[in-house]
């Protein structure tokens, strides 16, 4: 039996070495920076073959019975609560940054714009997915109306929710305010809409009232809720921790097409 216990010990020892070796690897900044380069390959390849093709759209029969509300689902912020109490009558969506004519749109303004309705699947980075119907104006025409300047490379969505909580990677701490960003290819994609309705009803607070983004070719964390301001920028390096989004500042890919 000694041979078995010895083999067992060797096995456990080798397993332990493997785990600690892996821990050293996953903790190495250099190794992580190197494997992160694959994001560029994914982004470049998907932009190359993707063009302006549409994400799959479904029928009303395919809609999830319960669309999971994730992330922030109830905001305590005083300003936001006042807007909820007022039915968002005094709420304005700002479109500014690198634009010739900054806009300030009321919810009624957004609803007057030509709307697109789409039944699409929301793919969460965690692995679950849900199908819902979204209605709202396309972002592209709004950016054109604001006179997007040629120096703009990205569009940033500033949100009302402070997700706070989770410690960001690398030690530095951000304000915790939720924000997201996309390139102009996704900003002007036909299915990129500022959704004010879900499944035919005004957005609930849990799903991001009064408006949230639908960026249908990317994962759930890009679908910013409680959008207050849309800012055109040349770079997002100066914002928060510089990675272009709340979750990006915490290690997730900026390009969430996979």
């Amino acid at each position: 039996m000694t041979i078995f216990s010895r083999r067992g010990l060797i096995g456990v020892g080798a397993g332990g070495l493997l785990v600690s070796g892996c821990d050293r690897l996953s903790g190495s900044m250099g190794a992580n920076a190197f494997v992160a380069k694959a994001e560029r390959a994914t982004y470049g390849w998907q932009r190359l073959i993707g063009g302006q093709t549409l994400a799959q759209e479904f029928t009303a029969a395919d809609i999830s019975p319960i669309f999971k509300a994730n992330g922030s689902t109830d905001l305590k912020d005083d300003d936001y609560r006042r807007h909820v109490d007022e039915g968002f009558a005094n709420w304005r969506l700002k479109i500014d940054g690198l634009v010739a004519r900054p806009l300030s749109l009321s919810l009624a303004d957004l609803r007057r714009l030509a709307a697109r309705t789409q039944i699409t699947r929301h793919d969460c980075v965690e692995g679950w997915s849900a199908i819902g119907q979204w209605t709202g104006p396309q972002l592209g025409p709004i950016l054109k109306a604001a006179g997007l300047l040629p120096t703009a490379n990205y569009v940033v969505f500033h949100c009302a929710d402070n997700y706070g909580g989770e410690i960001s990677k690398g030690g530095a701490q951000s304000t915790g305010l939720y924000y997201e960003s996309v390139d102009l290819a996704d900003a002007f994609h036909p299915q990129t809409i500022v959704a004010t309705e879900m499944n035919g009803k005004p957005l609930t607070v849990a799903h991001g009232a009064p408006c949230r983004m639908r960026i249908e070719r990317q994962l759930g964390y890009k679908q910013a809720k409680y959008v207050m301001r849309i800012e055109a920028v040349d770079s997002f390096a100066h914002m928060e921790l510089g990675k272009g989004g709340y979750w990006e500042d915490r290690g997730y890919e900026w390009y969430a097409g996979i």
């Binding site: 996953s26 694959a38 999830s64 319960i66 999971k68 793919d123 969460c124 692995g127």
Partner: protein, 300 residues
């Protein structure tokens, strides 16, 4: 009496490399060998990081979608709950079958010894702590390497006709009598020796072809089916092939299980057939087919 120092010692005498000419030959080309070991690294990291990703939502569903409330679509889950006595247990459910997996799946020990509620245990995942963001980055890096390495192997194999001649099953080998003979001799752990061992027999060809042409491509395609960007590029074609995105995720998980099954059998066969000779053939390429069998006892 001659001293020991005077005795010529041929260190190679008992090693297979000293075998008579004709017995030792180059079994695997350098491209095959390189691709094999790069593949080992890729599959290892893909499985370990994949299990970490799975832990972010340890449930599988059938259909276009699936989330917490979709009980009717969920067919697999790993979780923890309190038993009748109020004691926490790890439970793995496959369809209607509930298996208590406390200690390994659902409820297991973190590196600090604390019991934690988590799908797969730390010692099986990469990174060992639960970290979806890092696991995804490593998963996609090795997914790219896996695809590029696989394409290199396929193109090399097709051009040199290695795949057509040595991997793809030959029609006459598929004859029931030959299949049965191979199954029986494998069950008895009697492997081909001598010149008969210079070419893969039918069970090896079926296993390797199944991995190279069916299972691993299926793993890649079901993986891509989960990508919203790739789906949009192909108009939803990919997930539709598998009955929807949630189904594709389920099948992706099943292809991993089958790959692990292949690895277990593959490594067991290497050990049973002679690990030194087998491993050497995948490192230096040299392989000793052994002496010709003197009599065939397994055939009348």
């Amino acid at each position: 009496m001659a001293s020991l120092a005077d005795t010529p010692i041929d260190l190679g005498a008992d090693l297979p490399s000293a075998a008579p000419p004709g017995r030792v030959y180059t079994r695997h080309g350098v491209v095959t060998r390189l691709c094999h070991w790069i593949n080992v690294a890729c599959i290892g990291f893909l499985i370990a990081s994949g299990l970490n990703i799975f832990n972010a939502h340890p449930s599988l569903y059938w259909g276009n979608f699936g989330a917490d409330a979709d009980d009717n679509r969920r067919w697999f889950e790993i979780g923890a709950m309190d038993d009748a006595a109020g004691k926490a247990v790890g439970i793995t459910r496959i369809g209607d079958v509930h298996i208590t997996t406390t200690g390994v799946l659902g409820l297991n020990r973190a590196s600090n010894g604390q019991l934690q509620q988590q799908g797969f245990p730390d010692w099986l995942t990469f990174p060992s702590n639960r970290d979806l963001a890092t696991a995804r980055r490593w998963h996609f890096f090795f997914a790219w390497l896996f695809i590029l390495n696989g394409l290199t192997y396929l193109i090399y194999g097709l051009v040199t006709r290695h795949l057509q001649d040595e991997i793809w099953p030959k029609l006459k080998q598929l004859a029931p009598a030959n299949l049965w003979h191979d199954i029986v001799s494998h069950a008895k752990l009697q492997f081909p020796r001598g010149q008969a061992d210079k070419h893969y027999h039918i069970l090896q060809r079926l296993a390797y072809s199944g991995m190279i042409f069916v299972l691993l491509p299926l793993m890649i395609v079901t993986g891509l089916s989960m990508s919203p960007g790739f789906n949009a590029a192909l108009g939803g074609f990919l997930p539709s092939l598998f009955g929807g995105r949630a189904s594709a995720r389920s099948i992706h998980f099943i292809t991993m299980d089958l790959t692990i099954a292949f690895i277990v059998i593959h490594v067991a066969m290497v050990i049973l057939a002679g690990p030194y000779n087998q491993l050497r053939s995948m490192i230096t390429g040299r392989y000793d087919v052994g002496p010709e069998p003197t009599a065939r006892k397994d055939r009348p």
